[in-house]
Amino acid sequence: MTRITRRSFNKMAGALGATAAMSLAGYPRMAAAASPRVVVVGGGFGGATLARYLHGFDSNIKMTLIEQSKSFVTCPFSNTVIAGMNKIDRVTHGYDGLRGLGIDVVHDTATGIDPAKKTVSLKGGGTLAYDRLVLSPGIAFKWDAIEGYDEKASGSIPHAWKAGPQTVLLRKQLEAMPDGGVFIISPPVNPFRCPPGPAERVSLVANYFKTHKPRSKILVLDPKEKFSKQGLFTEGWKQLYPGMIDYINLSNDGKVVRVDVKGMTLHTDFAEHKGDVINFIPPQKAGAIAEAAGLTNDSGWCPIDQRTFESTVHKGIHVIGDTSIASPMPKSGFAANTQAKVCAAALAAMLKGEDPGTPKFVNTCYSLVAPDYGISVAMVYGFDQGKIVKIKGSGGLSPSGAPAAVRKREADYARGWYDSITRELFA
């Protein structure tokens, strides 16, 4: 590349700004505040990435990250903790890295938003004013959507779909289960966070049983007809865990209609299934703060302008990650991370009164079928006519029938991905 002097750069950047300003309508210029205030709610995959990148784009921005927990336990790789491959500290991360960058991290819970006054109120008291607000609060559960399963029930029948104490609880239950026991897992209806997550959990628990409790069985009760990467998972299960896993889909009476906590039984329309350990994953919706702020629609999730992730309900509030409607992207940590980068670039530009630019996204969801057996699904996304679109011809699944060496490489890459992304978020 030819060397470019700062002067010629400024000239070109000016030209770029001018072209962009003419080429794109509909993004009103904001008065560029000297030191704009951005408040971020949620320090997970979306929020931590956003804070870091926005700070990187423009360190002049006064940023506050509100996160209710002192440390963040990742859902990615939490299935390895449930299966006894890793301890919980392997998936626990702190906020010192973000603080080190000069980002103000406040451990509190955001309880309300006033979109007109542009303020966020905190459980610990006080309010924070913002010029732009970003929400990445993850998911909330639809408690009571299934008879008998509320928050209290999750104390004995864990969901383990937010990582932390729930992860540890399910691990303890599986450890205490006698050989020959039955483990039941019931995934939720679509859409939910991490579509391949339940089958990865089944796989790694099967791997634990195979080595420690080989007479045990796993029953999957699915309220859907099929699940993500089904062909690849099924291939792996036949090869590695023959006879151990029984999968029942919707047509075969897989939909749980009632949870009996005392009796440790899941009821479907026509049958009841008793388990020694049960993992019930309830249906999901946008994070509580997004719902409280009125940012959700009938679907229970937050509609957004897919270029900037700005809410289509309230201006000045951007919503990223699981809580947003970023379809056709799945609800994954990878997706939240790549959305955060796009949103940060858009915000940095918008706060300067410039054009928000064009998004580009990648998502790769790795799953472990066994510690050295990895599979993946990937997709590249662009932007067309106001919407996120899959790039034709890109993406797809790992090949079926691949040799063990390929599965091993993908398992190594799964761990490599985890190390890279968690360093990107928290280092």
């Binding site: 870091r52 784009f57 011809g393």
Partner: protein
């Protein structure tokens, strides 16, 4: 990460130098490169098993990406990802990472 500002600077210039005026629906090199960091680490400096791509030459990165695309080079996931980037985008990415 501290270099994002600089990255954006170089990246923006990269695209301009390559393809003239930026089209409305084309992402900047910074936005393009950011998609790689989730696996390959900030600026392509990988923390673990993922290949390190920072500082590799423009020609090398371009060739490898095109070979992933055509299937001339064996890969696990990259053949699926490379197909999501145009040849111009690949050149912009290659320039970006070669300067890291």
């Amino acid at each position: 990460m501290r270099h994002i500002g600089k990255a954006l600077f170089i990246a923006t210039v990269g695209v301009l130098a390559l393809s003239g005026p930026v089209m409305a629906e084309e992402a900047s090199s910074a936005v393009l490169a950011n998609t790689c960091f989730s696996c390959h680490g900030p600026d392509g400096k990988s923390a673990g098993a993922m290949p390190w791509i920072a500082g590799k030459s423009t020609d090398y990165i371009t060739k490898v990406m095109i070979d992933f695309k055509t299937g001339a080079m064996d890969s696990t996931v990259m053949q699926r990802i490379a197909k999501g980037f145009s040849d111009d985008e690949i050149k912009a990415l290659a320039q970006y990472f070669s300067t890291k």
